[in-house]
């Protein structure tokens, strides 16, 4: 009941103040950023963090959440109209959105995407309100051992799920991220590591300049490498038929919302997997499987519901464990810390109202996204007509200033350039970026908690493996590693087949 009161109070605070203007412009800017190929939600949130550095904490976080939700939704525009996902989270959207647009149903497709994104965000928001307080309470029993495994779990699982075909590259990216976090003064004895007397390196590698590089400059290089894009030609049909069509698949929407939220909850996995997992589940359960990939409304709805549901889902571990559920959530976590908010297990004791404020911010951003998305369907098309050679240099200027603005250090501009170039090369070689960023965030947690845990037990590793939550975390993490090995997967498939068809198998054995 207290939660509901805090939520309603936060809503009235936003609606009855100038904050409502922030909600509108930040969500609109998020939609624009998301719709432009080359601008991801992560970059949008990172740049906005540098811009809102001098704002009050509540105002800055509200703007960032609006940007995040708007950008993940906005990416559906270019996926539908250009067949280029505006953000990686919208890749599944393009599969059915673009064929719908080509058949003259672009308006309808955009309406389906809007309804899906709205439903997804609302389901995720409800989960945020219900799960976050419970998870924070569970997390109170976490000690050094559990936090160590949580960091290991995050990097391994994010590495595995973001590079599903080649998990080794996902893990390498994660370990490299952890290594980057080791640069600079360590947190126990303040000894500079890998600094070589350089005062800039002693201060460590900033998360934001690294992210602006990996998601800004790297994206600019990728966009400029590709051939130019063209907006789909032809008329835009009415959005109302799309709304009606979307509402026909209510079960798919709810299922995708739940799957997306769950994917958001897993550290570092985020919106991309939310969309793909929801899309796969929708296809498996659909009675019209053959339409998927050729312009299925159900497929489009599932993908867009899944990715937007992952946004509030990704905020749950941010608030309760200080571990990000996705790359943009990692920036949001950094922004919260910059603004003096202390996310983590103590949040429900120290500032329980903040969790419900975040829920209210998600609700306001979601509502603004749906209203702006439906009302501005045609005007937003103009954004996609901006030529890339005009847009990209402006983005790069913003990246440079954004990297510089946080600490007024030219060194951060060099960090941005380094990560931009490294990110481009790594992406060309199929290394995912999300585990790298998660590694940078989790490096300090892993380092401090492993050493603290070893001091507590005087070098005895037993509690790391036997405490109940530690046990669950390491068994799951190593289970994921085992499942990535082809021969283990084959054995499991054979075992399951053997259990399902014991008679057939014993007959075969008899014949042999």
């Amino acid at each position: 009941m207290n939660g509901l009161v805090s939520f309603l109070s936060a809503i009235s605070d936003i609606v009855l103040s100038a904050a409502i203007v922030d909600v509108l412009w930040a969500t609109l800017l998020g939609i624009v950023v998301g719709s432009l190929p080359g601008l991801t939600a992560t970059l949008g949130v990172a740049l906005m963090t540098t811009l809102t550095f001098n704002f009050e904490a509540e105002r800055a976080i509200l703007i960032l959440i609006c940007m995040y939700i708007g950008a993940i939704y906005g990416g559906s525009r270019s996926a539908i109209l250009l067949n280029i996902p505006g953000t990686p989270a919208n890749a599944a959207t393009a599969l059915d959105g673009f064929p719908l647009a080509r058949s003259g149903k672009a308006g309808s497709a955009m309406a389906v995407a809007t309804i899906g994104s709205f439903i997804g965000s609302i389901i995720g928001m409800l989960a945020l309100a219900l799960i976050a307080p419970w998870l924070a309470e569970v997390a109170l029993s976490f000690g050094a051992f559990e936090f160590f495994w949580l960091a290991v779990f995050g990097v391994l699982v994010a590495g595995q799920l973001t590079a599903f075909d080649d998990p080794i590259k996902g893990w390498i990216a994660g370990f490299l991220g952890l290594f980057v976090a080791m640069i600079g003064q360590e947190g126990i004895h303040a000894v500079p590591r890998f600094s070589y007397g350089n005062t800039n390196l002693s201060g460590g590698i900033g998360l934001l300049p690294a992210m602006v590089g990996a998601f800004g400059l790297a994206e600019i290089l990728i966009v400029m490498r590709q051939a130019n894009y063209e907006v789909v030609r032809g008329g835009i049909d009415s959005v109302f038929s799309g709304i009606r069509n979307a509402l026909r698949f209510r079960v798919t929407a709810v299922r995708s919302g739940l799957i997306g939220t769950f994917m958001g909850l897993i550290p570092g996995v985020g919106e991309d997997m939310g969309a793909w997992a929801s899309y796969a589940a929708a296809r498996m359960r659909s009675t019209r499987k053959d339409e998927f990939g050729k312009g299925s409304v159900e497929g489009l709805l599932a993908a867009e519901t899944g990715n937007n549901a992952a946004v509030p889902g990704a905020l749950i571990p941010v608030l309760t464990l200080a571990v990000p559920g996705s790359a943009p959530a990692a920036v949001l976590l950094a922004a919260m810390i910059i603004h003096g908010v202390r996310p983590g297990p103590l949040i429900m004791i120290e500032s329980p109202e903040f969790v419900y404020q975040v829920v209210a911010m998600v609700f306001m951003a979601t509502t603004a996204m749906a209203v702006l998305g439906l009302a501005l369907t045609r005007p937003l098309l103009l954004v996609l007509r901006i030529r890339r050679e005009v847009l990209m240099p402006i983005i790069f200027v913003l990246c440079t200033v954004g990297a510089f603005a946080i600490a007024s250090r030219v060194f951060d501009v060099w960090v941005m350039l380094f990560f931009g170039l490294a990110g481009f090369v790594m992406r060309e070689m199929k290394y995912p970026m999300a585990p790298l960023i998660l590694g940078i965030v989790l490096g300090d947690i892993l380092d401090k908690n492993l050493r603290r845990g070893l001091v507590l037990t005087d070098g005895d590793l037993t509690p790391f493996f036997t405490r109940p939550i530690s046990l669950i975390l390491w068994v799951t993490a190593f289970g994921f590693i085992l499942l990535s090995m082809p021969f283990v997967r084959q054995r499991i498939v054979r075992l399951i087949a053997g259990i399902r068809h014991p008679v057939a198998n014993s007959d075969e054995g008899g014949k042999k």
Binding site: V390, V397, M429
Partner: protein, 171 residues
């Protein structure tokens, strides 16, 4: 990148990664153990970096073995292909983008007034990476004028937004 090219790239990156991982392990072993401060031996600063170096070494070796199995070690440097690469539109676009972005961040940013530096960068980017400027075309002057107008608006507009609205200190 085609799968075959990717295997070759994996072979090279695995070797680089193994070298890097060995360097991390060596540096971690060399790191100060603070014996003079009587710290607990399990809190030495090099513990976690050393473990990470070991994990990267394992992953690098796994990548190396896999790329060798897939024939990634057969690297052939085709000198004859280099002029083609030089003239390819994609290589030209990436090369120019790198040159301009690094030139702006390292050469103009902080050395010229922000608005002017940004305007020069945006102007050069639009002209060099936009539609080819042909003096034979009647519209070439208009093309330059439009690029200059966009560059001035972008350069000074961004400076105004950052300093006036978001109160960010520019170099």
């Amino acid at each position: 990148m085609k799968p075959n090219t990717l295997d070759k790239a994996d072979f090279i990156s695995a070797i680089v990664l193994i070298g890097f991982a060995l360097a991390i392990v060596a540096e971690s072993l060399r790191m100060d153990r603070l014996e003079g401060l009587n710290i607990h031996p399990y809190t030495v600063p090099g513990l976690v970096p050393g473990m990470l170096g070991g994990l990267l070494l394992l992953c690098g070796m796994a990548l190396l073995v896999r790329s060798i199995r897939r024939g990634g070690w057969r690297i052939e440097l085709q000198i004859s292909a280099l002029p083609g690469l030089w003239h390819s539109d994609m290589a030209r676009r990436i090369g120019l983008t790198l040159l301009l972005t690094f030139g702006f961040a390292l050469g103009l940013f902080g050395w010229l007034p922000f608005g002017l530096g940004s305007a020069i960068f945006v102007f050069a980017f639009i002209l060099l990476l936009g539609p080819r400027l042909r003096l034979a075309d009647p519209g070439w002057l208009k093309q330059i004028a439009v690029a200059a107008a966009i560059a001035i608006c972008a350069g000074y507009g961004i400076a105004a937004i950052f300093t006036e609205i978001f109160v960010v200190k520019l170099p």
